[in-house]
């Protein structure tokens, strides 16, 4: 599904590479994609919040999955947490959540007008929230 996590990238802390702004063009590469199960949901900032919430709800209500995993990267962390809490709040205690955080390494290309293009890495935080039924169906 919509995997535009790159939208959620918060800008890296500037100053790690202090270069003249005009000299290069910064191009962000996609974050590394991880193998994806059917019950993984990657949250982005572009899709409507309601739609993402409904999608999660549908998955849980459908009965196919007893748990789903919501992933958010950078700016989308807030939204991932929000979705998980909404799910839990709307379930009258039937759902529980467990959160994990991690760090994701991201790669940027610096295209210089002259010379070899540079790459640099920076880190960004990510969250992985497991939402599951308390009583196994």
């Amino acid at each position: 599904m919509s995997m535009a996590e790159n939208q959620a990238l918060a800008p890296a802390s500037e100053g790690a590479l202090d270069m003249d702004q005009v000299e290069y063009t910064l191009r962000k590469r996609l974050p590394r994609k991880l193998p994806k199960r059917k019950n993984d949901i990657y949250v982005n900032m572009k899709t409507d919040f309601k739609a993402q919430l409904a999608r999660c709800q549908k998955m849980l209500d459908g009965g196919c999955f007893s748990e789903i995993c919501i992933h958010g990267l950078g700016l989308a962390i807030n939204r991932a947490i929000n979705i998980a809490l909404q799910l839990q709040g709307g379930s009258f205690g039937a759902l529980q959540i467990a959160a994990n955080t991690s760090t994701v390494e991201l790669v940027d290309d610096l295209e210089l007008d002259e010379g070899e293009p540079l790459t640099r890495t920076r880190n960004n935080s990510a969250i992985h929230i497991k939402v599951f039924h308390t009583l196994p169906k």
Partner: protein, 1031 residues
């Protein structure tokens, strides 16, 4: 009652007359009887009595034609002297004929009355009749094959008469029998000499295929494609346009989620070899650092990356571009010479080749080719196709015996004796044309390297002892294996290949990474059925190495491949095992269906893998559509194609390729290069084609573009647009354009723009330059230069040179990265995406001030900018849609009603309506006279032909003041537009005039900057869109 009947009868006659006139249109005058007189003629041959009464009727008909047209010749008068022939019917038709004409041309009637001659000369009259009779006799004598059936009156015809002669009346049977026999004989003679079975026999089929390949080059996958694709003949090739199955969306999904395969072997490769310094020195003239990558870019020069750039004619940047190319340097070898491959589109190849020859000062000195006899078909030069004259025909006939049954590998259209190598005596640079020597397949999509990984297996290393047994040519690999450094290289390359499945998308590794490889025969480990290659995360072992690969790409040494070596390529092509041999070997396997292990006999194929970056520019959907290109030596096309297809790649054609570039936001060659010769050519061809298509519809079933205010619905008048904006700018009216005042438009501006339009049109079409006009233009440019203030944009070539030296149109496209970046930030609304914008608006960024804008405008008066428009709400723009500046009210409208569809263009009046009507009635008149007067009436011709150019609903003249034709000022046109499946809304790519764009942006409030209107050529509805310049 009577009267009504009469009218009906009259109208019936009228219709009949019209029909008859239509039949007689192209007849020479002396044969007035043709098909309609045939029944009479046929019967007269049979001695029927009816015919005598029939023929006068017909002759009377023809006379009415003449009378109605208001044109009387002698023969009418003649017939009018036979009153006995006139029945009621004729009188009716007489009246009917006049009635039809009365409305439009009453005067004709009077003139008819006056023009009846008093006397006729008997000799002339008799001569004319004699000619008619002769013609009649001739027509009777010569019967077409189907005439015996048509000679029967309809009432006597029976079903299946032609099948069974006995159904004919007896008196006709004799004749019919003869006829039938004759036809049967004819058919027999015409039929194919061979049976279908014989024709399909391998050798004969091959011969037939070879014959058909002489005109247009077939790719190696042609037969495969021809079975599944709509084929088109383009640029001298037969190419698959789009799949015959309905798979537009499936192909899109393949591109964005799975893998799409495309055969790009038609793109032409030119090889340049020489010392690095010489090459860089000469090629440096063709490009500029200002526009981004050059041949000298560090990463590309080492051979590590593939680069792409737009080439210009020598020292002509920023005007006169040739077109976009990609290039690849061979990694450094022990020898001093470097090799460079330039890959170009076939439409661009000839321009490029001539320019390269010019720059390198290469002569047509054929270098002694080490090519073996087999590769008779090395390359082709397009000039060959443009002259399909006698020369080639002769050669074909001669060549028929020499190469009868050998499969054509490579280029079948090329003259074997044609030079493909050119050497420079001064710099030692050798240019070689490698068209069709190297195949190029493109895999697009995130699964592309999974497909590749499964289909390709690195060649097994030969032990020394094994290599010895090999004989002759096959042993290039064993020779290669003997050197230990080659083996470490090979192992390294294999290691990189094994890392690939650990990467989820090709976009994760650096753009343009090159990996050389030697692989075994891919046909040997094919799956039985078509499978889908999926990434297997369990195989990923070495995470650290993958990370390293993602960060730094493949090392320059691993980009080395033997495919660069012409000898190796030829050996590999020659020693390929045919499908038949392979199958024979397979049939001898002990366990049927098990993998065939050829051991050292297995062919080893050197290939190159080149990563294609996906969407690079812009902030959205980065990395979309990334993939890999596979370069293969010729002859191995199908051997690689099928295994790739069997791994789950979906095949796409030209259309899918165009969509790919469109979704990536890149200009597509040749459509989107209006400043290149190939682009100009292309736009002219498309326009012709589209007009032809338009004309096929009746006027009521096609849009009237004049009413829609679209002057050029089938092309984009860049030239006029740019000139208009330039003039507008010089008038100094650089304030906010209130659309309504603009509508009235200053007359002098119209005049001046028209002048220029005329000039440049002429220059584009025929490259003649009226001296006077040129002077005028130079004056023009001088005035610009004096205006130009001294600003510190070093990239600004002075515009006067730009003005003077462009015969092929004065339009140029802005490709200076620095300037583009600057304008790009100006076009963004300041409030949204704060972080992103702030990054670009750094300390060095020029703020948008009146001075800065003016400076750019003055230095780049005739430039176009490539923009991407995404529509805010509904609507999907199409090609040639106009991009306009929204008026102030429009912006207010948008602010007050965010859901409004957008403003409407008021319907335009058709100023050509009367002209058209007049010409039509003229035509009609001329046309109805035709059967009588076409004899030798040359004076009448211009009357008929004057309305020829007028197509109803199309602007007939050269377009004038393109900019201000509609209620909103036009700043540009869309070249590709569609509903974008990636973004999920209508999206358009096109060019806008730089002056117009800056005019628009500078007059808009900061938070609404970059808002434009888009309107399709056949619609009055404007739609709001956001302009994005992606760098």
């Amino acid at each position: 009652m009577q009267r009504g009947l009469g009218v009906r009868a009259m109208s019936g006659v009228n219709r009949k007359e019209k029909k008859f006139a239509k039949l007689m249109r192209n007849q020479p005058s002396n044969i007035t009887f043709s098909s309609s007189s045939d029944p009479g003629a046929g019967r007269s041959g049979m001695g029927s009595s009816e015919s005598q009464t029939d023929s006068p009727h017909y002759s009377c008909f023809t006379h009415h034609q003449g009378v109605n047209g208001g044109h009387v010749q002698q023969q009418q008068v003649g017939s009018s002297h036979q009153p006995s022939c006139y029945g009621d019917r004729q009188r009716g038709s007489h009246r009917g004929g006049f009635r039809g004409q009365r409305g439009s041309s009453r005067g004709n009637y009077r003139s008819y009355v006056q023009e009846i001659p008093k006397i006729i000369t008997a000799t002339n009259f008799a001569q004319a009749r004699a000619a008619e009779i002769n013609a009649m006799l001739k027509a009777v004598a010569h019967k077409s094959s189907s005439q015996f059936l048509q000679s029967l009156p309809p009432a006597m015809r029976r079903r299946a008469m032609s099948h069974n002669i006995k159904r004919l009346p007896r008196r006709l049977r004799e004749i019919a029998k003869k006829e039938v026999e004759k036809i049967a004989q004819l058919k027999k003679e015409q039929s194919k000499s061979k049976s279908r079975k014989a024709r399909r026999r391998h050798g004969n089929l091959l011969m037939e295929f070879n014959r058909r390949q002489r005109k247009n080059i077939w790719l190696e996958t042609h037969i495969w494609h021809a079975k599944r694709f709509h084929m088109v003949k383009k640029w001298g090739y037969c190419l698959g346009n789009k799949p015959t199955t309905k798979s537009y969306r499936a192909c899109y999904r393949a591109m964005s989620k799975q893998c799409l395969l495309q055969d790009l072997s038609y793109s032409c490769c030119l090889e340049l070899s020489g010392t690095e310094d010489n090459l860089l020195k000469t090629l440096g003239r063709l490009s500029s650092r200002d526009a981004g990558t050059t041949f000298a870019s560090v990463a590309c020069l080492s051979g590590k990356r593939q680069g792409s750039l737009v080439l210009y004619k020598a020292d002509q940047y920023p005007t006169k571009p040739l077109g976009p190319v990609t290039f690849l340097w061979r990694p450094k070898t022990p020898s001093e010479n470097r090799q460079l491959w330039i890959w170009a589109h076939p439409a661009l190849k000839m321009d490029l080749l001539t320019e390269l020859q010019l720059v390198c000062q290469c002569l047509d000195v054929p270098v002694p080719e080490p090519a073996p006899s087999e590769c008779k078909t090395i390359t082709h030069v397009t000039a060959n196709q443009t002259v399909p004259g006698l020369k080639r025909k002769l050669q074909d006939n001669a060549g028929e015996e020499v190469i009868p049954e050998k499969k054509i590998i490579g280029d079948g259209t090329r003259d074997p004796l044609q030079t493909v190598t050119w050497t420079s005596l001064t710099s030692g640079i050798v240019i070689e044309d490698l068209t069709m020597e190297i195949l190029r397949y493109r895999l697009i999509g995130p699964l592309s390297h999974c497909v590749m990984f499964e289909a390709l297996q690195a060649a097994a290393i030969l032990k020394n002892s094994e290599g010895r047994e090999e004989s002759g040519l096959r042993c290039w690999w064993s020779e290669y294996c003997k050197r230990p450094e080659n083996m470490t290289l090979h192992n390294g390359q294999e290691g990189v290949l094994l890392l690939l499945p650990g990467i989820a998308s090709p976009a994760e590794i650096p753009a343009g990474t090159v990996l050389g490889l030697t692989v075994g025969d891919p046909r040997l480990n094919m799956p039985k059925d078509r499978t889908t290659a999926m990434p297997d995360p369990t195989q990923v072992k070495d995470l650290e190495k993958i990370r390293e690969l993602c960060l730094n790409g493949v090392g320059a040494e691993f980009a080395q491949s033997e495919i660069w070596d012409r000898n190796v390529r030829n050996i590999v092509t020659e020693t390929k095992l045919t499908e038949q041999e392979l199958n024979q070997m397979r049939s001898k396997l002990l366990v049927p269906g098990s993998r065939l292990d050829l051991g050292p006999q297995e062919s080893k194929v050197p290939i190159l893998l080149v990563q294609q970056p996906g969407k690079m520019a812009g902030q959205e959907h980065t990395g979309w559509g990334s993939g890999w290109d596979i370069l293969i030596p010729k002859g191995w096309g199908m051997a690689f194609w099928i295994p790739l297809i069997y791994r789950g790649a979906r095949a796409g054609g030209l259309q899918e390729g165009a969509k790919h570039t469109q979704y990536k936001g890149l200009p597509h060659f040749p459509d989107d290069f209006p400043d290149c010769p190939a682009g100009i050519q292309h736009s002219m061809e498309t326009e012709k084609e589209l007009i032809g298509k338009y004309k096929k519809y009746p006027p009521a079933k096609r849009p009237n573009y004049i009413h829609h205010g679209t002057m050029t619905p089938f092309r984009c008048p860049w030239q006029q647009l740019v000139e208009d904006w330039k003039t507008q700018n010089q008038d100094g009216s650089f304030k906010l354009a209130g659309s309504d005042q603009e509508q009235g438009l200053r007359p002098e501006m119209q005049v001046s723009s028209r002048e220029y339009v005329g000039v440049h049109e002429k220059e584009i079409s025929s490259e003649e330059k009226p001296l006077k006009l040129e002077e005028e233009m130079e004056e023009e440019s001088e005035s610009v230069t004096t205006l130009e203030p001294n600003i510190g944009c070093e990239n600004l070539q002075n515009p006067s040179t730009g003005d003077r030296c462009s015969e092929s149109g004065h339009v140029s496209i802005l490709r200076s990265r620095k300037l583009l970046k600057q304008i790009s930030t100006w076009c963004r609304p300041t409030s949204s995406k704060g972080q992103q914008t702030r990054r670009y608006v750094g300390s060095a960024q020029v703020q948008m001030t009146a001075d800065a804008v003016k400076a750019i405008i003055c230095s780049h008066p005739r430039f176009l900018v490539w923009v991407r428009l995404s529509l805010l709400k509904k609507g999907s723009p199409v090609t040639n849609a106009t991009i306009c500046i929204p008026s102030e009210e429009d912006l207010h409208l948008l602010a007050s009603e965010p859901n409004c569809p957008g403003p409407q263009e008021p319907k335009h009046r058709d100023p050509f309506k009367h002209q058209f009507k007049a010409s039509k009635s003229q035509k009609k008149r001329a046309f109805s006279q035709d059967p009588e007067t076409a004899a030798g009436d040359l004076q009448r011709k211009p009357v008929a032909s004057c309305g020829k150019d007028l197509i109803r609903g199309l602007w007939p003249d050269r377009p004038q003041n393109v900019m201000s034709h509609c209620s909103r000022l036009t700043i540009g046109f869309v070249t590709q537009g569609d509903f974008s499946l990636t973004v999920g809304c209508g999206e358009a790519l096109g060019f806008v005039s730089l002056v117009g764009l800056l005019h628009m942006v500078s007059s808009q409030p900061a938070e609404r900057r970059g808002l434009a209107l888009v309107r399709c050529p056949a619609s009055l509805q404007y739609r709001f869109a956001k302009i994005d310049i992606e760098v």
